[in-house]
Each structure stands twice: as C-alpha cells, then as structure tokens.
Symmetry: C2
Subunit: 403 residues, 2 copies
C-alpha cells in the first residue's frame, strides 16, 4: 500500500471534516474531527480494557448499545483526553454527542465520541462546541475533509496514519479506508490509540462487531510500544452499505472482506509502532513451534515488552541472549537445546548454541525493519507481535515533558 | 544500617577471599571469590526461575540436593556467566566445585557455584582454576578477605553492596551478614543478581531453606529494575552454628531470626535497586486496600514495571495519571472513584480526583528516595514493590554496549 492522505471518505457515503478549535493551544491546528455517514451506518467499536477509562469511552459504549449499532456520526477531539474528569467529564462527552446529533438531526445515541490528549483536565466546552459547529458546516466528501479529519486526531504523531484497500464482491467494488493516531505520548501522558475505519460494504452491526474484534486481535492487539494501555484507546468501524455489496455472516464474501479489513487495521497498527516515541526500528517478532498458542503468546509478549531487548534493538546490538532469556523467563515451556533464533532469515542461535558473530547479522540489526523468528522447537503454537526499539528520544519525550 | 565493607566473615566460622584471575579482562581486578565455612554449615539457596538457566545454577541445585543442605564452600566467578554454554558449561561448573572441594578436602557436592558476566562464552578454565587456587591460599577470617570477596563478585556495579545485623538469642549474640552484586548489565548482558548471606546461628537445612524463601519473597522478589530475570540469579545462605545459639522451627527465636534475616536481605535488595543502571531514584511502591492480595501484587508490579512511569520518575514529573492508569490496566479490581495516590505522604489524586499541582509535591518528586502509596479503596489486599527510574544512562548502558 502506498502512503495516502485523506482516504476516509473514499468508501461511498461518508463525509468528514476537521476544525481548529484551540483545544491543543496552537492556533490553526485542527483538533476537532467529525465523520458522518450520509445514511445511517452499521457501527462497531473496540475500546481500551483499562479499568480507568475515559468519559468518551463510557459514553460511546452506552450509545452503541442503545442504538444497537446504528451510527450516524463520530465526533473526536484532540488536546484533551477527558479522562479522570468525573461526572463533569461524562456530561461533557454526552454534550459533544448531543450537539453533533442536533446539528445532524438524529438521536444522540447515534453519535460516538472519542478524545485524546492531556488527562485530568476538564474540556474547554466553549471551544469544543464552536469547533463541532464549524466542522459540521465544513463536512465534505472530498479528500480535503478526510485529510483534515486525520490531522485533527493527531497529537504528537510525527506523521499522519492512513490506509486503504478495495476488493470486488459480487461484481461490485467495495472500499475500505482507515485513519489512526498513535503512540505520541507527550501531551496526552499516555499512548492513546484512536482508529477509525470506513467501508461502503453493507454489513449488519453484529457481523461488523465480530469482524472488528477479529481484525483488532490480529493488528492493534499485537503491537506494543511500551506496554502501557491508555484510558482512551478506541477503534470504530462504520459500514455505509453504499457500494451495494452485502457481506453476510457465513457467506463466501465474509472471509474476503475480513482479509481486506485486517489489511487496513494491520497497516494502521504498524504505522503506529513505526511512529512509537523515538523509535527507529519496526520489529516483527514471530514465535514458532511453541508448546501451545498460549505459550507462543507469552514468549512473544515477554520479548517484545522487555526494555533490555528494546534498548539492544536501538543500539543495533545482535544480542540474542536478551531475546532468548526473556522468552525463558516468560513462563512458556522452554528447552534450551531446542531453541533457535533468526533475524531476517539469518541464524543467531541454533538449538541452544550461539552462532559466531557475522557481518551479515550486524548489518541486519541496523535496518529500519527487522523480523525475528524465535523457534522454541516444542509444539505447534505460534504468535506474532510488533514492537519497536527504545532509545534516548523515548526517555526525552517521557521524562522531559512536565505535568 | 551504616554502609559496611568486608562483613561476610563477621559471623563466626567463615573464611573468605577474592583473587584476580584475569577473567574480567582487567588485570588486578578480583574476579574469583571463595567463601568457606570452617565446619560444615547448613546451606540453602534460591535460584532464578528463568527456564534458560546457567550451568552453575544447575550444578548448585544438584549439589544442594545431594549433600542434603550440608555446605562447605561457595565458589564464584565474575566476568563470565557460563550460561548458554551447553554440556561444556556444565562440566566447567562441576570442575570449579570439584577443584574447590579438592583443595578443602571435602566431597564436590559440598561446594556450590555461582557465575556472573557475559553469556554464551565458555569459561577460560585455566585462569579460573589458578584463581581458585590463589583464593584458597588467601582465605581469611579478617575483614580483608570478606572485602575482596565482595569486590570479586561485582561486574558493572557502581558500589559494593553489603549489609549486616546482629541479635541476641538465648543470651548469645548471633550475627548475620550479606554481600550482593546487582543490576549492572553491560558486561553480563543481563541483570544478574548474586547474594550471599552468612550467619553463625545453628539452623537445620530444612528450616534455613524455609526462612530464606520467606526472606527472598519479601526482598529480592520485590525489586524490579527492568523486569528482566537473569539466567544466573542466585542467593545462598549459610549457617555455621558457631554462635552456639540454635534456631529451631516453631521456637520463639524463629520469628526474631527471620526478622533479622529479612533486614539483611531487604537492605541488599534495596542496594541493588539503588544501583539500577543509571538510576537516580529508589522508589517504594505500596499498594493498599486492593480487592485481594493478588490484586495488590498485580497493581504494584504493573506500576513498577511501566517504562512510562519510570521515565516520568527520572524526569521528576508528578505524573499521577501514568501510575493510576498502569494500575487500572493491570487486571486488578479497580474503581476510579475509590482510588487515591500519595507521594511521601502528600496527596496527588484522591478518590478519583486529581489534586491541583503543589510545590511540595514537585519538591518530593526530585528526591532520591520516594514512597508512593496507591490506595485502591476496595478491600484488604496490600503489596509493596521497590523500583527505580529509567533515564538516559539506562539506554546508554544497554544500547551502546555491543555484543
């Protein structure tokens, strides 16, 4: 996929806008985003599992339930997470939905809300409301509206994150597109991930939810920048049905659509890792032949989350010992004499024996994309996790910002 | 406790030495350590639970079992972990024990072995053996022998780590002393923790083991520098019985002795955290009123292990949001409106509401010792974990060292 910008309205039936409301404190920077479906869409969402969850997450959960997955619009602000803000926060998130609903002449429960930014401060509702009004006036199906949407959800992201794909179902072209913001953690204090995916396929809310959960499991739930789950993480998927192609549960199109959806969510997820704070390397960690699926998962997450491994990656150090020992300590079934490790196809450690250092391995370690395969030699379990290195910039971004 | 140096032979019945064998590559730096009990001692040990464990750990486990906890000596080398070294490594560790046993005229199973240093390289046995011979000739009950022992087990530690205490049991003075090496991870690639504790109390091997497991649970198992468990972690406790005071299971002295033992192991553990790579702050994290003990543990470890929290600590940032949300994501029972956080007794967050920033809190954050109390307001579970900050020096030490 090439790097697009302004894709969210490429699937038919969607309008988007972004407006500068001054919430982020920098005049002219868009910080209120609006995504609207011309006709009522099917909607599904997955949220943070952090038990400290922000007001917009609570409100969106409730609205999705009340509307039974019939969604008209999504309203987003950056610059303020509306988290740890108590009852006032819940009222404010509800007000964002209600105002948007009023402008679009639908019930409030048909509007979902997401926020990202600093936590523990109440929203400047005057600014937020005028931002929403302006965004509603500027709604557009053109590329410009979608581009402004993607810009308005960014916080400390170094680049906008979008992805799109299309497929043909029953002779009709179906499009999928997504926009996300990632792991820039200075202003929000936490790595909030927001992602919005649109499609013009016709999908029931129930199937949409099932497909989104699967796609998120294979993408957003496989990435780790620093293992810290935000209070605001949200991924919303809307299906307008305007392509005229229907995806029904159990139909032969379901798998094809699911694959396209995963393509978009995985691309967004990898963009988020690539933009991990200060990250210079995107690292795929594949665990194979673990004793079980659970073991593979344990090992992959232990390695991907280890600061020792991540600093070695930053330093381009071919330090197989840190990777192998992080797996050994993960709780998975492990036998030294069965364990092997490759990087970009090159052996570093084979059946319990380290290989002599090679120039090829050293060169591989300095790349911006690395794939490690850790083979535990025990069973049929496998898992993959995407991570990044941890360098000075991570410390700078996270230590030098002051609350 | 004041900072002592050369304490391991203060309990009666012990001899110690350290010799420079050239394993660490710096001439004159001691790297072989020997601790001997004049009469056979009771011995107990706890080891890494990493399934990738080093040869000396395997050999010591087996020797302790074969000797039924009767130990004559401990031989240690730094500069090479003898880990990931296959059968050759096991033979070498066995040879270290056998040579020591021969010099002391006891069975090999009465000698325990520990190693710390680089992994994946076989030991230079010629040097190791002459180092052991020299150490055996230099064994001494004086302060100098114990000091050389403590120096010889260090790798990248910035300072030697020792602790001692004494108590009166049945009118007799009983001494306990300990030496440890910690989380300096450059040369060994991994944070190997080695600790050796001596006492002149008379304790059976079975009770000694029970007391050591308890003491380690309350000290070494409560510290985290970067969550990475080494292949070589070892803590050995030897009791010579030479004070003439016996500690029997269930006796009224058992609890008193257990307290003294924990005092020594906790002091050693905190010294290790204080010397965490690049650390400038020693942080106590106390979780109170969790729904259960397990919940308290989950929350404490999640907060203490979070790189986001640790970089904020480095930056002296009063970022309560990172701490509270790490707990919220830990899987423990959690209610925002019940949760409170204090630092050094000052409120930062109270029943779900952030307190306005204060100069007193800002000042507290810049200290070298901080205590956070996270009150979950739900039940009776409590837990404590000791951690440190994560700063530039951690990245430098771990990224710029090359394998």
């Amino acid at each position: 996929m090439k790097r697009p910008i302004g894709v969210l309205t490429r699937p038919r039936g969607f309008l988007a806008a972004g407006s500068a409301a001054g919430i982020r404190g920098t005049p002219g920077v868009p910080d209120v985003a609006l995504l609207v479906c011309e006709t009522p869409a099917s909607g599904a969402a997955v949220f943070t599992t952090n038990r400290l969850c922000a007001a917009p997450v609570q409100v969106s959960r409730e609205h999705l339930e009340r509307s039974r997955g019939r969604v008209k619009a999504v309203v987003v602000n950056s610059g303020n997470a509306n988290a740890c803000t108590g009852l006032r926060g819940t009222r404010d998130a509800g007000r964002m939905a209600a105002l948007t609903a009023g402008l679009l002449d639908v019930e409030p429960a048909r509007v979902l809300v997401a926020s990202t930014g600093i936590i523990g401060r109440t929203l400047p509702m005057g600014r937020v409301e005028s931002g929403i009004r302006r965004a509603a006036r500027e709604l557009s199906a053109e590329r410009r509206g979608a581009r402004r949407f993607t810009q308005a959800i960014m916080t400390t992201d170094r680049f906008p994150k979008e992805a799109e794909t299309s497929l043909v179902l029953a002779g009709k072209r179906v499009r999928l597109a997504g926009a996300a913001k990632g792991a820039g953690m200075i202003a929000p204090h936490l790595a909030t991930m927001l992602a919005f995916v649109t499609t013009d396929a016709a999908v029931s809310p129930a199937l949409l939810r099932k497909l989104l959960v699967q796609a998120a499991d294979d993408s957003f739930n496989r990435i780790t920048v620093d293992g810290h789950m935000s209070t605001n993480d949200t991924c919303i998927l809307l299906a307008s049905g305007r392509s005229g192609a229907a995806v029904r549960s159990g139909s032969r199109w379901e798998r094809k659509f699911a694959r396209a959806l995963r393509e978009v969510t995985l691309e967004l997820a990898l963009e988020i890792v690539r933009d991990g704070e200060g990250a210079v390397r995107l690292v795929t960690l594949q665990v194979e032949h673990a004793g079980s699926e659970r073991d593979a998962e344990l090992a992959a997450r232990a390695v991907a989350g280890s600061p020792l491994v991540k600093t070695a990656l930053f330093g381009a150090d071919p330090n197989w010992g840190r990777i192998v020992s992080a797996a050994g300590a993960s709780g998975c079934a492990f036998r030294e004499d069965r364990t092997s490790l490759r990087v970009n196809g090159l052996w570093m450690y084979r059946r319990g024996r380290p290989l002599p250092p090679s120039r090829a391995v050293e060169r591989a370690m300095t790349g911006s994309r690395l794939t490690f395969v850790l083979d535990l030699g025990l069973g049929r379990g496998s898992s993959v996790v995407y991570t990044c290195d941890l360098g000075y910039a991570y410390v700078r971004l996270n230590a030098e910002y002051h609350t």
